[in-house]
């Protein structure tokens, strides 16, 4: 089974983020592979192991530093990587990224495209399904379990609103993963050494046959006007002491201050 995994390098959201004049303060930012993408890589590696044949190709669109995210995935065990590197993509939204990825992928052969259910920076979760539409492929989003996998067919569990939806999927297809699917492996030292020798192809917009009017700022459909601090929740009242007392104090507040049963 030949699998493409879509990777995005994102701002490390575990760190403190500061906003000034409607934008993030760049100073002190750190960039990491989006954690849902690690789940997707792990899923791809396990699928190839299960089926017993095939290879895992990582793809990203991003600046120079995004190659670090690809190297990390190669160190986990992926076979090769493609880095689409072109400033024409700057300012892309999900739609424009999906267009670019579709252009790259329309000439490639694969059984499955895997991606994280959303990227950790935008938290939008649009790109995989938009790509599926542009490629004319079926999609299954937010999977929590791979029940069966064989050439041409998979049975997946998708986390739906009212339970797990058991889905019979005919390949090729686009599948996005929930992080409950697996626990991504850590790269071994050997893996890290091997990753340096694995093939990484760098391509610009022209090399993928892309059109500058369809990507970046000219191709995007949506735009971010500015970034704002979330309205900070004020820490409220905290009670310590015997459970009998503190419970009654809080119930009193619920009734008389918050009036939740009014």
């Amino acid at each position: 089974m030949n699998i493409i995994v879509l990777i995005k390098q994102v701002i490390d959201v575990e760190l403190n983020l500061r906003i000034k004049d409607g934008a993030l303060v760049e100073d002190g930012l750190n960039y990491v592979i989006s954690s849902w993408d690690e789940t997707a890589i792990e899923a791809a590696l396990q699928l190839v192991e299960t089926v017993g044949a095939g290879e895992v190709t990582l793809i990203t669109i991003g600046p120079e530093r995004a190659s670090d995210a690809l190297r990390k995935g190669l160190a986990m065990g992926a076979d090769k990587a493609v880095h689409v590197l072109d400033s024409a993509f700057d300012g892309s939204d999900s739609f424009a990224y999906a267009r670019g990825l579709a252009k790259l992928l329309e000439t490639r052969e694969y059984d499955l495209i895997l991606a994280g259910k959303q990227a950790q920076d935008t938290d939008a979760g649009l790109t995989p399904s938009m790509l599926a539409e542009f490629l004319g492929l079926p999609q299954v989003t937010n999977i929590v379990k791979v029940d069966q996998a064989e050439e041409g067919k998979m049975v997946l569990h998708r986390k739906g609103d009212h339970g797990n939806e058991v889905i019979e999927l005919t390949l090729p297809a686009v599948v996005s993963v929930n992080d409950s699917l697996n626990e991504p492996r850590l790269a071994s030292l050997r893996g890290i050494m091997q990753a340096k020798k694995k093939p990484m192809e760098t391509m610009d917009l022209a090399a993928i046959g892309g059109d500058a009017s369809l990507v970046g700022e000219s191709g995007r459909q949506t735009k971010i006007i500015s970034l704002l601090e979330p309205e900070a929740r004020q820490a409220g009242k905290k009670f310590e002491g015997s459970e009998e007392e503190t419970s009654k104090q809080v119930i009193d507040l619920l009734l008389n201050e918050a009036k939740i049963f009014a």
Partner: protein, 321 residues
């Protein structure tokens, strides 16, 4: 002229509350609003949608549509968009809505804005607000080009109004003919028929502090006495103590109820991202430094196994009074 098409969602044959919130808000904006209703045995619900402001309902009611599938719903919504000539499509940010939104938008050749918590609408000029980066940053965003506006809006962003008696003008959609390559065979319901997390006015959630499946059962009566939905942190779901459908958080369900009880939940950022929109938060945790206390309106530092029985007892008395 702006016109909104609301994609209705059902649980079984009942319209879900977030759909009513979308209709109510559209009505309050005085924008012509219609709805598309897809399901099995849902025809009678068209009147409900009309009662909340849908002037026309595009209906697809068929035994093949009882379980959501992306391909059929995309084709049906597209058909409704075309017939209604809507300039905006509004969906709920449920698991269904998140799956359907990008597919519908891409087929319409436009972008989409998702997980919106606030919206400013001036005709088809949209300014929207959405949390990103684990809710550490709010994006103020909009559209960069002309075209149909596809918006996916979180439950609780708007209030549902009261219904007014109305009769729906129903248009039957014809079933799309297509080969379904991702076929939903069944739903493995882990949920227990309790109150739906995204519909609930009160949510009680438990975290690792309950120590095991027995602890999950120990706290459950609190949810029952409050008529609350019962949720949990990711750790509890991953440990198998609670079903994954109960997970509240960024990768689970994002909830914004009137009251949220966080019991034995430390408050990892992914969890906070899923519940910090709640109007009132009550936290119970042994650790006085647990991050959950930074967002809690009322916090009890103490042993949940002592606090919860007291709460159950007191709430019972209040309910019976």
């Amino acid at each position: 002229m702006a016109k909104i098409l609301v994609v209705a969602e059902v649980k079984g044959t009942e319209i879900k509350k977030p759909t009513l919130e979308l209709l109510s808000h559209a009505k309050s904006l005085n924008i012509d609003t219609e709805a598309v209703l897809i399901g099995d045995g849902v025809s009678e619900q068209a009147g409900i949608l009309a009662g909340y402001g849908a002037r026309k309902v595009y209906l697809a009611d068929d035994s093949s549509l009882g379980l959501y599938n992306t391909a059929s719903s995309t084709a049906l919504v597209l058909d409704a968009v075309k017939q209604s000539e809507a300039s905006q499509v509004w969906l709920s940010a449920s698991e269904l809505g998140r799956d359907l939104t990008p597919r519908v938008a891409a087929r319409l050749g436009v972008g989409a804005l998702t997980d919106l918590t606030k919206l400013e609408v001036d005709g088809d000029e949209i300014t929207a607000y959405r949390p990103s980066m684990s809710t550490k940053v709010i994006q103020k965003c909009g559209f960069a080009k002309e075209g149909i506006r596809v918006l996916c809006i979180r439950a609780g962003a708007f209030d549902a109004a009261d219904a007014e008696p109305a009769t729906a003008d129903v248009v039957n959609l014809s079933l799309p003919e297509q080969d379904i390559r991702a076929l939903v065979k069944e739903i493995v319901t882990e949920s227990t028929g309790e109150v739906d997390l995204q519909e609930a006015e009160i949510v009680v959630s438990v975290g690792r502090g309950v120590k095991g499946p027995e602890g999950v059962d120990f706290v459950r009566p609190l949810a029952q006495v409050l008529g609350a939905a019962y949720g949990s942190s990711r750790a509890v779901c991953d440990a198998g103590w609670a079903p994954h459908t109960a997970q509240v958080g960024q990768t689970g369900k994002v909830v914004a109820p009137d009251v949220y009880f966080a019991i034995g939940i430390s408050g990892a950022i992914q969890h906070l991202a899923g519940m910090s929109g709640s109007k009132l938060i009550i936290a119970i945790n042994k650790d006085p430094d647990a991050p959950i206390f930074k967002v809690a309106d009322y916090g009890i530092v103490g042993d949940l196994f002592k606090v919860v029985p007291i709460l159950i007892e007191e709430f019972k008395k209040i309910k019976e009074a």
